[in-house]
Symmetry: D2
Subunit: 197 residues, 4 copies
């Protein structure tokens, strides 16, 4: 897969930051221990390719984060939309507690909303006593119970809250809250739509 | 339905803002055209109930927005989670172009994430030529095609983009992009999960 | 002082939120325990003036915060700028530890940036042993020492960090860090510019 | 100057993102065209140093921005504070319209608040007719007039707003608004404190 295209150049981002803090090229070059013509080349996107080490030193000298100096990619949306056919869904086995706990069907994503991770989850374990918790996500999560009855546990794994949610139920999980899903005992597998954002 | 409980009092929010701008009670009272003891009562949550007009005048004097002075509600989550059984889903007819275009089944929501509006949509119109656009949403939207093949149009209603998405497809719509869903011609109704956030 | 003008109406904000969650007027009216024509009047900004209690109940029913329903004020900027002459600076005595610890000259503010509180501070206490801490601010603070040498303490009041900063020095204080300024012992009063943002 | 220390490793950030999108190491390796043991080495911060090109390809495969994969630096604050003595202020000549328009004395900055750029500005041009506009800043700006009377222009350079602000005045400039300062005609140089945030 070819790398996606950047919206701006590193040279532009670096120059914009340098000017924002009223630093001239001579002072910038001196602080980096480089000749001034190297700085010209850098900001005009010529010369030797930028290394991660140099970018880190530059962020230090310009008093900002690496994130502030890294350009965005051009959007991967098509007039504001992205779609994905089911045959193109990546399928991942989610191993937990030594078993194929969930099977993840990864739905459409977009670089413009990195936190958005929509999934169709096959819930493969039909024994709530065999439930295995995660540590919670660094994102919100909303779930729709598409097939089967879901036995949902959340909170402190040593003393969890729990509820049985029949097909058609929906639930929201706050960031950082540990949780786990199985189907009800002996009821076979289930399916949920899980949207993380 | 009883009003939910506020996390703080208006008196606390007003006093915090007044102190933040280093204004004393006498100056505050004078600017509002009220006696100083009224301000004491206000900040201690005694005295006459606060009116919207007074709160607006206060925001003006304290140089801030009404939003900055309004307290939050206590969370409606249950140890970080909220769930909803299908029989409790409000069902709303979505009228558009003079027909029952969509039927919305409203899934779980939480006050802690006001922009989150998860829905199960019945797509009732099976004629793409009868498609009627919205103006787009002030939110992101991700859709999973649960039943039926969806004929999806987006962009400029006069010259839209379009695609037919079979059952199991998923798509993302950026904020502000007009769009509309029908099922494919003559194929009967369909169902999608639509998560706005 | 007359209350500033709102950019939108409450009716518009309420209607936008109701539509966002796909709730129709009948369901909204029922949940509020009001007749449907009251809701029409409300959303069209006619009828009885809105009370804070009703707005609170509405926020509850519409599953959002009061802040989300309160309109913004029109900008108080003049082609993007606001200025203030020194004779218009409000002057506030800052009482702390029973003395006139600071005298605050309040510089220009703007409703568009509520957290911005620029001040000229007269530092009146010239005895570091008489220093009295605040609890820190819910904002960033940057200080320029205009006149006099400043004895600056910060951190844990029981065991503070401290430094003497001569005229021309500058310092930054992170949100929530307790601090206090006096001038150096017996040196008379000082003056700093303090920008909270 | 030595590069500042990172709070996390690239391996940690990459692994966290890969797991967030439910991608396993084999799929990740395949998408990058690398052997799986290279991915193990990468995520455990062993093996060959990461290049900017590889990081860009990784961001593409993991559907996120470079900024999301770059770690933060450890804070440069000292118990929440940073200070700077006047002799350590970098001094930069601001060339504009072929003259030494401003002299910038750069005050304290902190990596934790990259947008904060506090300055003491010497305003060297005392002829409003020789005023030269900038294009505005990607930041808020508040100014205190410390010495001299400032002739301030803003808005459209072809048809600007203007005002004379005596010593002790203060003004706020919204992001993106072009502006320029001189002192009043023939009055010699002036000094302002300018805080960009
Ligand atoms: Zn989860
Ligand atoms: Zn939509
Ligand atoms: Zn302070
Ligand atoms: Zn400026």
């Amino acid at each position: 897969m070819t790398a996606p295209v950047l919206e701006e150049t590193y040279g532009d981002k670096i120059k914009a930051r340098r000017e924002h803090i009223k630093m001239d090229r001579a002072a910038f070059a001196a602080a980096l221990g480089k000749p001034t013509q190297d700085i010209e080349a850098l900001e005009e996107n010529k010369g030797a390719p930028l290394t991660l080490d140099t970018l880190t030193a530059i962020a230090g000298v310009l008093g900002t984060s690496l994130a502030e100096l890294t350009p965005e990619f051009v959007s991967d949306l098509d007039d504001g939309v992205s779609y994905q056919l089911p045959q193109d869904n990546p399928i991942i086995k989610g191993l937990r507690a030594g078993t194929n706990y969930y099977t993840y069907h990864c739905l459409v994503r977009t670089r413009t909303v990195p936190k958005l991770v929509p999934l169709l989850l096959e819930v493969n374990v039909d024994d709530p006593d065999a439930a295995a918790f995660n540590v919670g996500h660094d994102a919100h999560e909303v779930i729709y119970c598409m097939e089967g009855d879901i036995h949902f546990k959340w909170g402190d794994p040593a003393n969890p809250r729990e509820v049985i949610l029949p097909q058609g139920s929906s639930f929201y999980i706050s960031p950082g809250v540990p949780h786990t899903l199985t189907t009800t005992k002996g009821s076979g597998p289930g399916k949920v739509i899980s949207i993380n954002f």
